[in-house]
Amino acid sequence: MNTDLRIRLGGWELPNPVVTAAGCAGAGRELAQFFDIASIGAVTTKSVMLEPHAGRPAPRMAETPSGMLSTTGMQGPGVDVFLQRDLPWLLSRGGRAIVSVAGAGVNEFGELARRVSAADGVGAIEVNLSSPDPSDPSGRRFVDDVSQAAAVVRTVRSHTRSGMPVLAKLAADVPDVVELATACVEARADGLSMVNTVRGMAVDTRTLRPAVAGGMGGLSGPAIRPLAVGCVYRVHEALPDVPIVGMGGVRTGADVVEFMAAGASAVAVGTVNFSDPSACARVLREFTEWLEARGLARATDLVGAAHRTGVGA
């Protein structure tokens, strides 16, 4: 059977729905040692900032049941190095790029969008609204203030060349994810990526100190999948025409099915890249086999299936 795996994010077509999650695949180079990086839908690159950032002190991670806590704090070389060194490498291997941007303050987002969308070969821009705003000492995130989040999206959209999709990356631990999503779409986001890590903490029972430096970290991995699927489901219900990149704990092809049935058009593999460096290729294979076994001709037919009855049942 010839299963049609193609999906669309706004005006951009991807060969299949499996992408990487920002910050969990670098810019593709390391994982390309384990599978053909051009074979998956796209690589979402680690959020890039205007300037180099050294990130947070160690320890930066702790394992938790079916998940992990981390605080890398946006470490990266800055947008210049990214555009000169990392992006060209990815494109040279035939990879498709969703470039995640993180600004310190609204204006930086505009500058980042301008530079990134001017670069050759970028497929889409993802706006990281869920990491703490480095320009705000209180540690507040853009998603904590719906109007701030919308302002960032509006700025990015207006600095991004037309036709290039802008995806707003949301968090699950917000007062009302549907309200946030709606505000981002009204600010002209072409799609939504959801969800980012969820704030949490672990105590190291050997030292009796917080297990990651600074106390709170971001929880990711299969543990948070029900939170993520719930967000995707509710947002798709409210905004059925807006493409969603679903993520949070994807480990198998069946998890891709779960996210797509809840309403995602594409699905990102994050933390599981750490535990299984060939995960993206395996997940894509398992997903394809699932579609074939169910006799579904098009991957897109799955999108939102859990909102209807009797799809492919």
Binding site: G23, C24, A25, G26, E30, L31, A32, Q33, F34, F35, D36, K46, E51, P52, H53, A54, G55, R56, P57, A58, P59, R60, M61, E63, P65, S66, G67, M68, S70, T72, Q75, G76, P77, G78, D80, V81, Q84, R85, W89, A213, G221, P222, T271, V272, N273, F274, S275, D276, P277, S278
Partner: protein
């Protein structure tokens, strides 16, 4: 996908042995064995496909043999859930192993005198290193330390491979009572050492680096930072390291290490972000530094 990069394989366990306070697991992994250079490590998935322990466990490669197309051995002590699970493996079980990972020990071009310093299970990577050095005609001396006698690592092998082997234990139950650094200076003098290689906990590496520096001898250290991925994508394993250009960067100990030149590691600042590190809050990026950065690693 690459000929000298790491591979991921499901390898059969050949055997699991107890060695004093340690377990040794040998797996059949030709792809890893053929690529291996000493100082590199493997990362092993633990707990099975439906385990709640998501992350791999990193272990230094202790030995590589040509049997069965290529076997790889690593040693470990039971510390938590992952190592407890590993200690229960039996022959023919399959392990999901990724490797070889990390930068190997640089080897001297000339047949010089080398001291190899290890603490506890951290000594593992020194044994294949000793073999490589011997093959190049280097003189090898060992200084191995541990908490107690049963934690001293492969004393017999060390004695066999090396010109001399000195042991220290915290409780004096074997060799000299004390720490490796108490005896290291004497060994460097006695053996006219040209280079030091060290593996073990961070405080030991720092002390070894200080002693070697005091004797004007270069030192290579292999660090053991907590690692989520081991392949370079997660950025959780970083430590502050000074580059050739004098700029301190937070580098990934899994792919930029685990082997570093001792004097380049800012031991005092491990666990923090030095104010002058590239991109630290206090850092003022000079355009020169930025240009250097973008020139770096452009393939």
């Amino acid at each position: 996908m690459s000929d000298n990069g790491p591979v991921q394989t499901r390898c059969p366990v050949l055997n699991v042995r107890r060695v004093d306070a340690y377990y040794a697991i040998t797996v059949v992994a030709p792809g890893i064995a053929e690529r291996f250079r000493s100082g590199q490590f493997v990362s092993v998935a633990v707990g099975g496909d439906h385990s709640s322990t998501l992350l791999r466990r990193p272990f230094a490669i202790h030995d590589v043999k040509p049997d069965y197309g290529g076997t790889v051995e690593f040693l470990f002590s039971v510390r938590g859930t992952g190592t407890a699970w590993l200690s229960e493996r039996r022959s023919r079980d399959l392990l999901d192993v990724v490797g070889p990972l990390g930068r190997p020990f640089p080897l001297p071009r000339d047949p010089v005198n080398c001291v190899l310093v290890g603490g506890g299970s951290g000594s593992a990577p020194l044994f294949p290193l000793a073999q490589s050095l011997r093959r190049r005609g280097c003189r090898v001396d060992f200084v191995l330390g541990a908490a107690s006698a049963d934690r001293v690592f492969s004393a017999i092998t060390a004695r066999r491979i090396a010109e001399t082997a000195v042991f220290t234990t915290d409780d004096g139950s074997f060799g000299t009572r004390g720490r490796v650094t108490d005896v290291l200076g004497g060994v460097i003098e006695d053996c006219r050492s040209d280079a030091v290689y060290a593996c073990g906990p961070m405080p030991m590496l720092r002390a070894v680096t200080a002693v070697a520096g005091g004797h004007g001898v270069p030192v290579q250290v292999a660090v053991e930072e907590t690692m989520a991925c081991g392949t370079g994508v997660c950025m959780t394993c970083v430590i502050p390291v000074v580059g050739e250009d004098g700029i301190t960067r937070m580098v990934r100990s899994c792919v930029d290490g685990p082997v570093f030149r001792g004097e380049q590691v800012r031991f005092d600042d491990v666990g923090s972000i030095p104010f002058d590190a590239l991109g630290a809050p206090g850092w003022k990026g000079s355009s020169a530094a930025r240009a250097a950065e973008s020139a770096r690693d452009i393939a």
